[in-house]
């Protein structure tokens, strides 16, 4: 079997089955409220995306292998089908690995001719507890990427504030390398997994890619998801503090 392999910095991307040339690649890295991870995993499951590639680094990531259904998988994986690909990570990202990983994702998207990167994450909102439906906000690396958000009437463009962490690097590097990236942020708790915030992101992605993605299961299984992700949230919380997430809290995003 022919395997496509790309080494970018300290990360390698090994495609076990043909990824093709998807139009969109959704990126769901662990970050605020694990919102991006929850949303992206739901999209992978709902759209029945199949396992395409592993992303790993023996120098920057802890030596972890994920065993699932008798298969050995890397902790960061790409799934895909047709026009849609999605990248998910099962482990917390330390500041040391978050930066090179984000750089590598942007470069991989450029090399593979992926048209748009859709980053999904949470934005800390101290009023989150009072909200029934979290809001969606966006930041784009290019005019073309911002056009994707024009189809989201309820989403607001971020006017000012700091974005800290892997998505900050993803955006900056996308500008430098002329990759069209749109990062969608949902109002979220900082350090409690937030499936309700993930729901609004899934709906936004659904509108962008033009494919209906039901969210009922995500709402029904919210508590089970939170139990599953509790320990990852604890790991990521400590990494977020070391990443300088305090800047984001000091100057929250304004819309």
């Amino acid at each position: 079997m022919e395997v496509y392999e790309e080494e970018i910095g300290d990360f390698f991307f090994r495609e076990h089955s043909r990824l093709g040339r998807p139009k969109f690649m959704i990126v769901g890295l662990p970050d605020v409220g694990l919102v991006g991870k929850i949303a992206t995993e739901h999209i992978v499951r709902s759209l029945k995306l199949s396992y395409k590639a592993e992303v790993d680094s023996y120098s920057l990531l802890p030596p972890v292998a994920v065993a699932r259904g008798g298969e050995v998988l890397a902790p960061i994986r790409i799934y895909g089908s047709g026009d849609v690909a999605a990248l998910i990570a099962d482990i917390a990202l330390s500041p040391r690995s978050a930066v090179p990983l984000s750089l590598a994702i942007v470069e991989y998207a450029r090399i593979r001719g992926i048209e748009y990167l859709l980053g999904l994450t949470g934005a800390v909102n101290f009023e989150r507890a009072e909200m029934t439906k979290p809001g969606v906000h966006w930041v784009a690396s290019s005019e073309e990427a911002s056009r994707l958000a024009s189809g989201l009437p309820e989403a607001r463009r971020v006017e000012e504030g700091y974005i800290v962490g892997p998505y900050a690097i993803l955006l900056k590097e996308s500008v430098r390398r002329r990759v069209h990236s749109l990062v969608l942020l949902a109002d979220s708790f900082l350090d409690i997994p937030d499936p309700e915030a993930a729901v609004v992101l899934v709906s936004a992605v659904s509108q962008i890619i033009g494919v209906e993605i039901p969210v009922d299961r995500l709402l029904e299984e919210g508590e089970l998801i939170k139990i599953r992700l509790k320990e990852l949230m604890k790991d990521q919380k400590s990494a977020l503090a070391r990443m300088g997430k305090g800047y984001e809290l000091h100057a929250p995003l304004s819309y």
Binding site: D191, I192, P193, K230, D235, R242
Partner: protein, 147 residues
């Protein structure tokens, strides 16, 4: 003042070496901090496994007039949650719903019997002034700030 070409070259190399060493030192410090954090997390998990008790996730929101604490306890069995408010702290404790945890984690679930979380306030409070509310898996504790 005249400076021989060789000496300028040597000084430039020394400057570059110093910069590289500083960079290396910073990278080593980051790496050490990361290792220590991983060790701390490992010890905490080991302690929790031994005591069969885990700590809940919580967040603290500093509002203008109150401190809002949110504990998230989705694994706690309905009707077993106890919230104790003292002068200087709040304690949240409950029994783990094993069936629910097994549904979420499968056989990989750790044998944890109880969930217990404690938050110490930065000031003394009158426990009667605090408001406690449970919504779904979350416990909201609102404590008015001292004047």
């Amino acid at each position: 003042m005249y400076e021989p070409e060789g000496s300028r070259f040597f000084r430039e190399i020394m400057r570059k070496m110093l910069r590289d060493m500083e960079r290396l030192e910073r990278a080593l410090e980051d790496h050490m901090a990361e290792l220590m954090e991983m060790e701390r997390i490992f010890e905490e998990r080991e302690r929790e496994s031994r005591s069969r008790r885990s700590s809940p996730l919580y967040t603290v929101i500093d509002k203008e007039r109150e401190l809002l604490l949110i504990f998230d306890v989705p694994e706690v069995e309905e009707g077993t949650l106890e919230i104790t408010l003292l002068e200087d702290r709040v304690i949240v404790e409950g029994r783990v719903d094993k069936r629910k945890v097994e549904r979420a984690l499968g056989r990989a679930a750790r044998h944890v019997e109880r969930v217990r979380g404690e938050y110490v306030f930065p000031f003394k409070l009158d426990p009667h002034m605090a408001k406690v509310e449970r919504k779904g898996s979350k416990v909201y504790v609102r404590v008015p700030k001292q004047p």
